[in-house]
Amino acid sequence: MDGIHDLGGKQGFGAVAREANEPVFHARWEGRVFGMNLVGAGGAARNVDHFRHAVERTDPVAYLTHGYYGRWLGGLETIMVDAGVLDTASITRRAIELGAHPDDRIASRPASPPDRLDPPADYGDDPPVDRGNQRPVPAAARFRIGDRVRTLGHGVSGHTRLPAYARDRRGSIVSTHAGWVYPDSNAHGRGEQPQHLYTVAFDGAELWGVEAEAGVVVHLDLFEPYLERSDD
């Protein structure tokens, strides 16, 4: 989706703020949010793509202002509400009992964004088992190392792993990684639909034009449906 998460190449964020001797978690709640997600979000967790899509649907203001674990809190609440494990009103009621204000900004955005309607998801009834993400793909790989490719020119409303800055750009296949679960499908409960994965190298000038720094190559790991052959 063309969400706030797709940050590559955006301008205006200023210097990178570093911190000496940084703790793993800066506050207790960050560790609690991380842990609740890793233990399965009360049974709502389905797969990594599903969770990433919930994080990228986070309220965009909260995405930028609540920090990484604020985004994870949004994703956690979203998948739990979507799955019917908890409901937004009950969480808000409890939060107010614990000292929250009724108008506190909530990062979670359950269900589809208002400008989109998802088809029904089917994640099955079985609890998720981590089998990794590599899968055989029956069809032969379309591309080989050295092939020139062009990426899709348009975004999609759902989950995808083709960043906006690399749309409609030409690059070269530099590695092949065989078959992997396809996030664009798996995030939405439409099955794993494994696809061939490639590392594609893009010259800086292809991505950024005359403003590109010299001698820069940006690599992305891209699924076969994002790519078409380029004849240049």
């Binding site: 998460h5 797709d6 590559g8 190449g9 964020f13 990178v16 703020a17 570093r18 911190e19 940084e22 793993v24 978690f25 800066h26 709640w29 560790g31 609690r32 949010v33 991380f34 842990g35 609740m36 233990v39 009360g42 994080v55 990228e56 609540h66 920090g67 990484y68 674990y69 809190l73 956690l76 609440e77 739990m80 908890l86 969480i91 409890r94 939060a95 614990l98 000292g99 929250a100 204000h101 506190d104 900004r105 990794g132 993400n133 590599q134 083709l162 800055y165 590695s175 990684h177 679960v181 994965l197 590392t199 720094e213 001698g215 820069v216 190559v217 940006v218 690599h219 992305l220 790991d221």
Partner: protein, 192 residues
């Protein structure tokens, strides 16, 4: 803002208390995860691997050929290394890692990422003006050094193999390991 007044902290507590009341998890389940990532998963794992690669050419080659297979005997906890690709810095090539879409990172090798790695400034800028960002980190690259940026857009995870220091042959192993910083393995520090 104190933690008690932070709306995210309160909402996290609300969710945790409701999940516990419903019997869907226990506080101890969450404690275990927090303890594991606080205490047992961190950049020391990656540093041990890099230090060994600096001194053992066969291991280094194995690491570059198939990172996941080469680190398997270590049995590191933490995940996110289903396909580990190790990229080697040389006098003519500098590698740097990012995830512009979220914050993918090789947890089992480096622990959880630092805040700057997850913040918008780094994620937005490192693919567009890597030389400028690296200079801000103190990495001054000559114009003839190629910068290779690795944007972790799928499940492949990247680790930078920094160049070995000149005194690699004489340093005791623990000192060598201590030289290998987290930032060097992300690619925002270069000590040769």
């Amino acid at each position: 803002m104190t933690e008690e007044r932070n709306p995210a902290a309160i909402r996290a507590e609300a969710i945790e208390s409701l999940l516990i009341e419903k019997g869907l998890m226990t506080a101890a389940d969450v404690d275990d995860v927090v303890e594991r990532y606080n205490e047992r998963i961190g950049p020391l794992n990656g540093a041990r691997v890099v230090a060994r690669a600096w001194r053992d050419p066969a291991f280094k080659q194995a690491l570059l050929d198939d990172g996941t297979a080469a680190i398997a005997p270590y049995e590191f906890e933490g995940g996110q290394t289903e396909k580990l690709v190790v990229v080697e810095n040389t006098p003519r090539v500098h590698n740097v890692v990012v995830c512009t879409l979220c914050s993918c990172y090789p947890w089992a090798m480096l622990g959880l990422p630092p805040r700057w790695y997850k913040d918008p400034a780094y994620r937005s800028r490192i693919v567009r003006e890597p030389r400028r960002v690296l200079a801000e980190f103190g990495v001054q690259l000559e114009p003839d050094v190629e910068v290779r940026v690795w944007d972790s857009s799928a499940e492949v995870r990247y680790l930078v193999l920094p160049q070995a220091p000149d005194d690699v042959a004489v340093l005791p192993e623990d000192e060598l390991i201590a030289r290998v910083t987290r930032d060097a393995m992300i690619g925002v520090e270069r000590f040769v």
